[in-house]
Amino acid sequence: MSLYRTELRRLAKRRFTRYMTLLGLLVLAAVVVGTFFTNQKIDASVRAQADRQAEQQYQEQVRYSQQERTACERDKAAGAADANRYPPDCAMIQPPPREAFESRWFLPSTFNFRESFAETLVPFAAILALVGFVIGASFVGAEWSTGGMMNLLLWRPRRLTVLLTKLAALLTGLLAVTLPAAVLWFAGFWAVATFRGSTEKVTSGVWQSFALTGLRGVALVLAVTTIGFALASLGRHTAMALGGVVAVMVVGQFGLGILLSMAGVRFPEAWLLPTYALAWMQKKVTLEDWQACNATFTGECRPDTFDVTWGQSSVLFAVGVAVVLGAAIWAMRRRDIS
């Protein structure tokens, strides 16, 4: 227990931990503030304004159609009508119907909590996962590279206990940041919806759905943090984790994506990690193959689809975490420390 408390202290004392956490929280705050200022509450006057703008737009189109029709008739009478510009019958030039100009197009952006909040949990999880990855990698990587791990092992020779206690302290620290941040995130967007949008129809079922999505986000943060920690411990340097993730993203993701597209593979996104992260958060991502055409009875052409579910993502991430952490544990147990 003393080791666990010590590692929590060490984590909190590190400047890098403090700065990265602060940076992550500032970015999250900026997202909330940005959303606040780019949205607006919709009231009767705003709706009336939108109605006026829709009507104005419609009237402009009517005027424009009238001008074009007049020009068409004039050119046809003069025998100089441009076949590429005008239809055979000038009467065909008609303004769009009034109902084509919907007032909602002219409404300012508004934040509907029920419809939009779930989407915000994706950047929330992504930002904190990035912070967790870097802090996790640095926490153990710096210990290895500065000799701190060796010093500690002279005091506590049980290597696995030391490594796993460090991980436990790291995850505790991340949870201590993530959970209050999640509460503030919910509260922040509730405030945005209250003052700059709508909180209507947020039933207990909706809350439950948001809570589950939030929990999946927290799980993602912890999984990515564990992978950063394990990679840095495996390479005994922070750079191992950071270099590894850059290599995976650049070579394994962008490169692979381009290669798969060039090879004409169906659903190339199914091979890319971000798709699975998104599926984990959104429960399902439907990929579409627009090269295929499935005709419907109405004659519509629909693409082939492929669903990536959160269940598949959970298996992928569980296996990934198990493999990387297992390798780190094996290396900690077997490799000499010099």
């Binding site: 003393s2 080791l3 408390r5 010590t6 590692e7 202290r9 060490r10 004392k13 590190r14 400047r15 710096a142 210990e143 500065t146 000799g147 701190g148 060796m150 010093n151 500690l152 092992l153 002279l154 005091w155 506590r156 020779p157 049980r158 077997r334 000499d336 420390i337 010099s338």
Partner: protein
Amino acid sequence: MPAVLEIEGLRKTYKSRRRGTRNALDGFDMRVDAGQVHGFLGPNGSGKTTTLRTLLGLIRPDGGRMALLGHEVPDALPAVAGQVGAIVESPQFFPHFTARDTLSLLASAGGVAPIRIDEVLELVGLRDRAGERVKTYSLGMKQRLAVASALLKNPKLLILDEPANGLDPGGIREMRTLMRNLAESGMTVVLSSHILGEIQLICDSVTIISLGRRVAFGPVDEVLAQHSSGAVRIRLEAVTDLPSAADVLTRAGIRVTGHPDHLMLGGVDKPASVTRLLAEQGLYVSELAPVAVDLESVFLELTATAPVPGQHRQVDQSTKVGGAEQSGATGGGWGA
């Protein structure tokens, strides 16, 4: 006296596809008795640090037996780690923490009372600089901090690898006094160092390692005596008699090296026999002085690492003893 550190037949082999196999430790033996200050000597690359790392559980041995404070290690290391303070090689600490933070975290991890932090900071002379970040420390100050971290446990066995590295002359003297005081208080100290004058001054016993094997061990006096060449310097009343004296002594089986004003004799068991031999020939000695050896010359002789003009010795060029039975130059085998 009970042994606090025992090593028998320790082996560690590094295998590399490119560089082949290298035996860092090749059946190494060592014993340190309680309450001693024990010097652990060897040329660069001889296996000193590998031995200490293996003993402390940082390196996995390929064979042999080790015991600390009567417990077999590495199995019993968790049980004895609290009684063994150690620094291995150069001091390494997280650069952005202060010395006090560093010690506080170690004390907290090891369940040591916080009051001990101030005690060891005082002991190593860092009391007034304890609030500064380690990255601002000189090598000598980091060395002091390393010693402080090792002393934090108030250990029964203190293992220090090059503790005087980077210390100023005053610091070296303070370290020497500290070692002696710790030994007098009942602590056993194992000291690895290349400052052989210091080792000779403060150590009760030594172990010398070369290419992974023990080449000498025992009390310092005994090691020096065993490796004393029996050299004697003589001067005669008349310098002109030196050639005659050299002739007489050579015929008596003594190795003689001539110098302009004196002779150096080797392999002399009893200096009195020299005076008698010369007096019988009418040659009278004005000065006869046994030439004392020091640890440095013994070390250089045993490890064959004395510099040779015109040659550049490589790190692995040192003495390798033939087998385990030859390793005890002055003492017996395991458990002696």
